[in-house]
């Protein structure tokens, strides 16, 4: 090995130029998956009211970092290494003044889901207040994915989940939308549309708002949102530098 070329095994040290730290930081943030440019915060007044999705995600963060295991059980948490919450960008209602059935629709922009992530679970969370329309009644709440919207007839829908509760119940209603993830992974650029119906025991369609289900006009801490639990594929390939 004595005839090997001299290999300088001490790399030259140099101080970073003015621009370099910023470029390095941008590159490091990309590697960590943090957004490159500073996020523009909502107007101060609104930003100070706690919003539902960040509150929920902060609880998940504490559950993920709490080694004592005392916190409330989080079923999907420990199988995922990436959890994303989405606030809905558009909300449609077909309620009073239309022929039945009434429904409420929520659209989500999923373009920020990184490539190479497998969905382990997905939930739609909506807050229900006690309702007296009609009082003390059993309500069936069903959730569908809007697969294809049609201008001249009803959209193509895909059934996701059904929950039964009482009209006087209050709290967060969690609907399982994992079945919709097959399609959204194939086509990130298309918004995910979720449609919600409420029916009484005798099959009468009810306006979701009258049934106590809150939409985008609710206080920020009770607005609906969606959560996706992801597992990175085993060999994430990093883009060459």
């Amino acid at each position: 090995s004595s005839h090997l070329p001299r290999s300088p095994h001490v790399f030259p040290q140099h101080r970073l130029g003015v621009r370099e730290p910023r470029d390095m930081q941008r590159e490091i943030r990309e590697v960590l998956g943090l957004p490159g440019r500073p996020r523009s915060r909502a107007p101060l007044a609104t930003a100070q009211q706690p919003a539902s999705a960040p509150l929920f995600m902060l609880n998940l963060y504490h559950a993920m970092t709490d080694d004592s295991g005392n916190g409330p059980p989080q079923p999907h948490l420990h199988r995922a290494d990436l959890i994303m919450s989405f606030v809905n960008i558009v909300e449609h209602d077909r309620t009073l003044g239309y022929q039945e059935p009434h429904w409420k629709e929520f659209h989500f922009d999923l373009t920020q889901i990184p490539a190479g992530e497998a969905v382990t679970a997905a939930e739609f969370r909506i807050y229900k207040e006690p309702s007296t329309h009609p009082p003390n009644t059993t309500l069936h709440i069903s959730m569908f994915e809007v697969v294809q919207e049609r201008s001249n007839r009803e959209s193509d829908l895909f059934f996701l989940d059904l929950q039964t509760l009482r009209s006087g119940d209050e709290g967060w209603l969690v609907l399982d939308i994992t079945a919709a993830s097959d399609r959204w992974l194939l086509n990130h650029n298309k918004d995910l549309g979720l449609r919600l119906y409420v029916e009484t025991e005798d099959g009468h369609s009810l306006d979701p708002g009258l049934a106590g289900l809150l939409g985008q006009t609710a206080p920020r801490s009770r607005q609906p949102f969606m959560v996706g639990f992801f597992k990175a594929s085993q060999s994430p390939v990093r883009a060459p530098r």
């Binding site: 996020r39 960040p54 995600m57 963060y61 993920m64 994303m84 919450s85």
Partner: protein
């Protein structure tokens, strides 16, 4: 990120600790050779100081640690080393210009959880792997 050190507590800035006197490998505890053996050192990375709190919600920073110190022949058990590193250290002693020293590097790393906003104001919770040094070794 290295910046001129201000008079702040260690956990405020990304600061290297003061080097202090350590036992050298040939030293029997009486300080004949004042060189520090490869081991784990404190390093707190502050997202506040990096200016990342525009999107990072939690944590505000974390203890990352780093590995530093000498990897000197013979590499004994406390250096968490390998047979290969022992041979490289030996050859380095004979041909220092050709074969580099054995390096003090992380041998065990763990993840942290990071809660942040993405570009669309969605809130993301990510398990960032290999962010904290748990153990160092000569390799």
């Amino acid at each position: 990120t290295a910046r001129p050190l201000k008079k702040k507590k260690l956990n405020q800035v990304n600061q290297l600790p003061n080097s202090n006197k350590h036992l050298g490998i040939f030293d029997d505890g009486h300080g004949s050779l004042d060189r520090e053996v490869c081991r784990r050192h404190e390093l707190y990375v502050s997202f506040r100081d990096l200016g990342w709190l525009d999107s990072v919600i939690a944590p505000q920073g974390y203890s990352a640690y780093y590995c530093a110190g000498e990897c000197i022949y013979p590499l004994n058990s406390c250096m968490n080393s390998t047979n290969h590193a022992t041979m490289q250290a030996l050859v380095h002693l004979m041909k220092p210009d050709i074969v580099p020293k054995v390096c003090c590097v992380p041998t065990k790393l763990s993840a942290i959880s990071l809660l942040y906003y993405d570009r669309n104001n969605n809130v993301i919770l990510r398990r960032e792997r290999n962010m904290v040094v748990q153990a160092c070794g000569c390799h």
